[in-house]
Symmetry: D3
Subunit: 234 residues, 6 copies
Amino acid sequence: MRILVVNPNTTASMTALIGECARAVAGPGVTVDAVNPATGPASVESHYDEAMAVPGVLAEIAAAELAGYDGHVIACFGDPGLLASRELAAAPVVGIAEAAMRTAAYLGRTFSVVTTLSRTIGHTWELARQYGVADACAGVHACEIPVVELETDPAAYAVILAACRSALDRDGSDAIVLGCAGMADLCQRLSAELGVPVVDGVAAATLEVEKLVRLGLRTGKRGEFATPPAKAYA
Amino acid sequence: MRILVVNPNTTASMTALIGECARAVAGPGVTVDAVNPATGPASVESHYDEAMAVPGVLAEIAAAELAGYDGHVIACFGDPGLLASRELAAAPVVGIAEAAMRTAAYLGRTFSVVTTLSRTIGHTWELARQYGVADACAGVHACEIPVVELETDPAAYAVILAACRSALDRDGSDAIVLGCAGMADLCQRLSAELGVPVVDGVAAATLEVEKLVRLGLRTGKRGEFATPPAKAYA
Amino acid sequence: MRILVVNPNTTASMTALIGECARAVAGPGVTVDAVNPATGPASVESHYDEAMAVPGVLAEIAAAELAGYDGHVIACFGDPGLLASRELAAAPVVGIAEAAMRTAAYLGRTFSVVTTLSRTIGHTWELARQYGVADACAGVHACEIPVVELETDPAAYAVILAACRSALDRDGSDAIVLGCAGMADLCQRLSAELGVPVVDGVAAATLEVEKLVRLGLRTGKRGEFATPPAKAYA
Amino acid sequence: MRILVVNPNTTASMTALIGECARAVAGPGVTVDAVNPATGPASVESHYDEAMAVPGVLAEIAAAELAGYDGHVIACFGDPGLLASRELAAAPVVGIAEAAMRTAAYLGRTFSVVTTLSRTIGHTWELARQYGVADACAGVHACEIPVVELETDPAAYAVILAACRSALDRDGSDAIVLGCAGMADLCQRLSAELGVPVVDGVAAATLEVEKLVRLGLRTGKRGEFATPPAKAYA
Amino acid sequence: MRILVVNPNTTASMTALIGECARAVAGPGVTVDAVNPATGPASVESHYDEAMAVPGVLAEIAAAELAGYDGHVIACFGDPGLLASRELAAAPVVGIAEAAMRTAAYLGRTFSVVTTLSRTIGHTWELARQYGVADACAGVHACEIPVVELETDPAAYAVILAACRSALDRDGSDAIVLGCAGMADLCQRLSAELGVPVVDGVAAATLEVEKLVRLGLRTGKRGEFATPPAKAYA
Amino acid sequence: MRILVVNPNTTASMTALIGECARAVAGPGVTVDAVNPATGPASVESHYDEAMAVPGVLAEIAAAELAGYDGHVIACFGDPGLLASRELAAAPVVGIAEAAMRTAAYLGRTFSVVTTLSRTIGHTWELARQYGVADACAGVHACEIPVVELETDPAAYAVILAACRSALDRDGSDAIVLGCAGMADLCQRLSAELGVPVVDGVAAATLEVEKLVRLGLRTGKRGEFATPPAKAYA
């Protein structure tokens, strides 16, 4: 089984980190390849960034379909291009926000999301509503660390840890959901220190794709997610 | 006052039609210019089409901001790029789906949407939920005419009229919302024959922008819709 | 085009203020007349006040229909008599609460309402739910100034300004909605000082009616909002 | 214990019928008096009728409070004036729509409402949402018999019976809710013939008031439902 | 009329207290018997406790049906076994959580629940959603007194009173709902001291059953709540 | 890794079938053991059956925890005992209804549930609401085959196939969810004939547990799902 993990931004070091975290949980016999688009923004922190990242994501998905991948992960917490990818691909496609939040729903009544910048909070709530987990989402909290500084800021871990603690206290929640692919490598350490389950969407989405592939389940193609009609392009 | 209407697809004849319908309702002293992106799909009928149209829409919005437009309309019923445009622009931005559905909410308890292809029905319901009009939306009905054939298919009007009649009967609704910018020119004729209010989003959004400009209201910029952070692009 | 603005209470000075604010935004060629019922309470601050004000509102709407007005505004934030007015009138009718809250929905993800007395908070939330903007409404905050003191209390502006600031801080919202017609004249000054969009329902509803009239849209009359059946009256 | 049942319309024969049905279920030692306003419409079948009936309802409630009644029923399925009555009265006030629909919620998963004119269907759904029973309400069905003809139309019972049967078939519901006070006397006969529980709001609300009085429960007065502020009246 | 009140736990002193509180409100001619299962947990404070208590509850309901009781109350705030009891019994069955929360909905816009242990808060919210009162429920607050200590802890009343005061302040609610059958005897004293309506579910459910019986209403038996199919048991 | 699959009913042949279907999808190195309680009903088709099956389910979960299983599946579409099991177990617990419906949410916009008896439809909708997939659930359809006849009725497959086809037509959905563990073995054949994804909860839940275990995720224990307090038992 071959799974493609697409990092929607163009920061290669983050792509490497994401690939590592995905491979760390993939089952025996599962190959995980992590890629990012050739062009696009270095990080995704706004609706604009998302919009500009999506064509590159779709190009990667289309290429991976031709290359015979069995499933795809979109590894950015806004799940950019998810529905378009489901149209394009025969293989299943899973976003890390939907995977993280739905996975957290198996672990208790409520979870808190800890994310990067506060400007993304509204979008996260919108996704929670779309994915049916708004009642389970007890709070969305920003640590105000830009995505690209997650890897370089020496204080990042401590700030995120503090944001998690504060979220658990204020929300009375059962679990933490990490709201950025760039936090994937912190998951186990945070969980150990906090003593609560911490869900990283990269790992969760990778195993969700693996699960769907093993179940023989692919996107339903009889309506909204049929292959997009061919179009003339100007 | 200058309002830009962006047709997200690249079919110039549809851009012309949309511009005409917008100008037909604009107030005295209001200039309406209709444009479409230089590149992108000839019509938008899928999530994929939408994703590929958005960068072009954003480029038009950005250019129009520099050119000093007072407000912007996104003239495709999926409202592609709406939130990203709100980040980019200082001037207000209105999508035709949100404008059409919210305008219909002033006309009665419920409305029915009549749209082009059935594959867009799920997305329309999702928009209705996001815009808070899901309880008011009594049904979404497809007439199965592709967008680009709305102008050329001689049977289009009759098929759409029949779809509206059937929708009103089945849904018991108070009004019709047209689910495609390409139907804008049919609005008055349909309303006259059906004897119910029929809302075209192009006209509704143009006047909504005019209304916001006259009220001095622009997108709030203190959080989610602040100007997007500058980014390195690969 | 002639638009009637009905102030549901019987305080003539407030009617004058409301008329002025409506006229300030009305388009060229639009005549706005502001009236209030001959009988009824001096202000509307309870369900009881609303109930007692409604027959007077309906009498004004009925008279204005006979006089050939093209549209009507109900200028009290509880939208008293709105649905009954839609039955009575052929012309469109818009309430200032629905107009203010739906207009704010074009300006960002969320808004905060700042209103007069805390006893109206529950009703405002109920309206937000009915109008489909409950998810967008981040908070409803009272400044505890009675309606008739808005004009006379020299501290009113400062108290309202402080309530707006506090609301923005607590709610993290993108815009303010003023929850009383008697605050209409404070809108621009508040917006300038707060640096966020502030929506006054009187202005918003006036332009919404103007928009509907220009679009040729009137209340759908095939069901709930058909002219009320004639009745014997004891 | 003395309970006042207010019939909001001015049709004395209906007031008599309502009083009889309320007295038929009242407990030992409970006096039920049925009244109607001195002025107002002969029946309530529109938002306009409701608005015009409410001042009369409130006058009856106010008088009954002075007369020392222990609780009040508003006996019209739109619950006109309910919230204003709760402000006015120290004693509890119950509407027949809220009582009927909440009572039905104890009898199974879902119920169907059978009402008079189809123009009231939208309002009934709105009440169902306000009262929290929208998920339990499987359908609202009109029998198209005007309120005042319920007593005189010899076919009324048969038409209502057929509407109930059809509702149960289409909705798969567990119970019927009668959507008009004028159907109160048909309740037992319908239940016997249909073999399902049939809830009449007049009886349900009367016993709900009796229940609240025996529990010593009155409307909470610390906020929205405090006595309305005194007002100058023009 | 004979009403059975089942205390789902096996603490006889609590059963006695519950029976007393139920009898204190029952109408003339109504016999109330309080029982508890022969086996099961001493108190119900977890999903596990609930699950283990339910078979005993169902045995009591089944026995009471044979004994000809006219209605049944399940007197534990989680309403354990409620739906299964509705299948088993021909007579109506009411849980104290549904009765308390729906009764509170007649008393104002919102209520606050004050319960025992914080671990039950999530379940209470879930019930509020199921019963359609989530919008009316302004908060759920724990006083952290275990169920069996309600009777013995001399500080219990003061702690609960303080929790009620704090809940009213934080939630701005109109009424209190007591979230445990073991608090039934505190209801009047709390209401007197707090000056707000306080709803005890034991009393509310007892009178709700009495109400249903007097109305001749029983669980609908044409679908989900038909007598359970007979089963082979291992 | 060892996963326990608990069949809540006591029909050994169904336990065998469920175990086989779970093992068919389990990954390399994963041992799946299927058990059923020693006592309880032969099938679960009512709330009563569920209630009577739960203590046996909990006993199996408790025993499996002692035996060191890494995760647990509850293999009955009502997810009986799920929350109590999460309290009891340190290892993660997944129900087949939640797993099936959430898995289907990755495959398109909507799914249809095809289940056994129509009396379970209401409960399935309630679960869909609790699991946040009510908007995604386009319909719940019964084939009216009792659970124990799924294995023996030679017409069962054809009836279920027809119910699936009818559901897809009526609902316009993207996928089918099988609403009974006893249909697990039909999943692939149905999917092949229908040409749409068909989700069996037994397989989905088994792989969900495997996924959680590999992610190192267990139920959060800081609140509602902490180990139940020890209790005296009568």
